[in-house]
């Protein structure tokens, strides 16, 4: 029954900026087609942060799914103060961090040294080899260092924001960033 539901769903849709608040309002009223429009627009951005934070494609896809399901469930709390993309991005980061905390408690957070992350990453216009190398190097960082590096250097959060999101002390966040950069520099020069 679920697969039949899937086959009825429309294909990729485009969404203008001006339409976003109206589409979000329709989604908030339970319109799943409207929510799919928001999904299509922001899935790449959400998946990118999930992939870099998780360092693993399978886990990243799970977190991306979780983030959008949680967004759907919390749409009544979306007031439109920021864009839907910013809002769902924050949900995605929290989703990965919560998953990380849970798995750390269970001591099964996996260190991924396989090539699967490379399969997901499109080559940018310039310097594809550097970007690919960097993605791989980020994925191979220790989990805490990877998360702080991604949140600070890639996503642009401050150490204070990272401390709030992760529960780390600001000084610990800085130490992880320093460690991550040092390891990445060493890897990129090798």
């Amino acid at each position: 029954m679920e697969s039949a539901l899937v086959m009825q769903l429309p294909t990729r849709t485009h969404l203008d900026n001006g339409d976003e608040s109206a589409v979000a309002a329709r989604a908030r009223d339970g319109d799943m087609a409207a929510f799919e429009q928001l999904y299509r627009r922001y899935v790449g951005r959400v998946h990118a942060v999930c992939l870099r934070l998780a360092g693993n494609r399978t886990l990243a896809e799970e977190c991306t799914q979780d983030a959008f399901v949680r967004a759907w469930e919390s749409l009544s709390q979306f007031r439109g103060d920021s864009s839907f993309g910013t809002w769902v991005h924050r949900i995605a980061v929290n989703t990965v961090l919560e998953r990380h905390r849970t798995q750390m408690r269970q001591a099964v957070w996996i260190s991924h040294k396989d090539d699967e992350i490379l399969e997901s990453v499109p080559a940018p216009d310039s310097g594809p080899e550097h970007a690919m190398d960097l993605e791989q190097c980020i994925a191979e960082l220790p989990a805490a260092a990877r998360m702080v590096f991604v949140l600070f250097d890639v996503e642009g959060h401050s150490h204070e924001e990272i401390a709030e999101m992760t529960g780390l002390a600001v000084g610990t966040s800085k130490a992880h960033l320093h460690r991550a950069r040092r390891m990445l520099r060493a890897r990129l020069e090798a």
Binding site: G44, Q65, P124
Partner: protein
Amino acid sequence: MNNVNDNKLQKAVDRLPRDITPANDLWPGIAARIGRKQRATRPLWAYGLAASLFVAVGAGSLWFGLAQRTPGAGAAAGIAAVSPGATYFAQRAAFAENSVQSAPNLAPATRGVILQNLRIIENSMQQIEAALEKDPNNPRLRALLFDLYQNESRLLAATQQIQAQTNQRNDL
């Protein structure tokens, strides 16, 4: 040396793609999970219908049961004692109608037919109740009213069934 390397690292970070499309389309899984949650919360309106059905059948049965057990001259007093009055019947009728009005996914034509039948039943009930006030011991009037309660119950049950079938079709 660190500054040079930091710049190199920062440039590499700046070249990272902002969007990475998942290798698999994740929407089907998301839609399925959202759909399951919606189905889990869907019966709320059905509880309303079931409640109205329960109230209608329960009140009707109670009233008729007590009225029929009250013999002879005491019948009128018995009915008067347990009959909730015109206000109650009007409220109950409005509640049943609202249940149909608020049931989601009913086709407009179907909803119209159900409401039309419901109003015919309610109108008949009011006429019989008025007649029973004048002739409370009339067994045929009581039997007719009882039949109307059953018809109303069947209509509301049929509405619920149509709604369930519509939901199943929508799920396919």
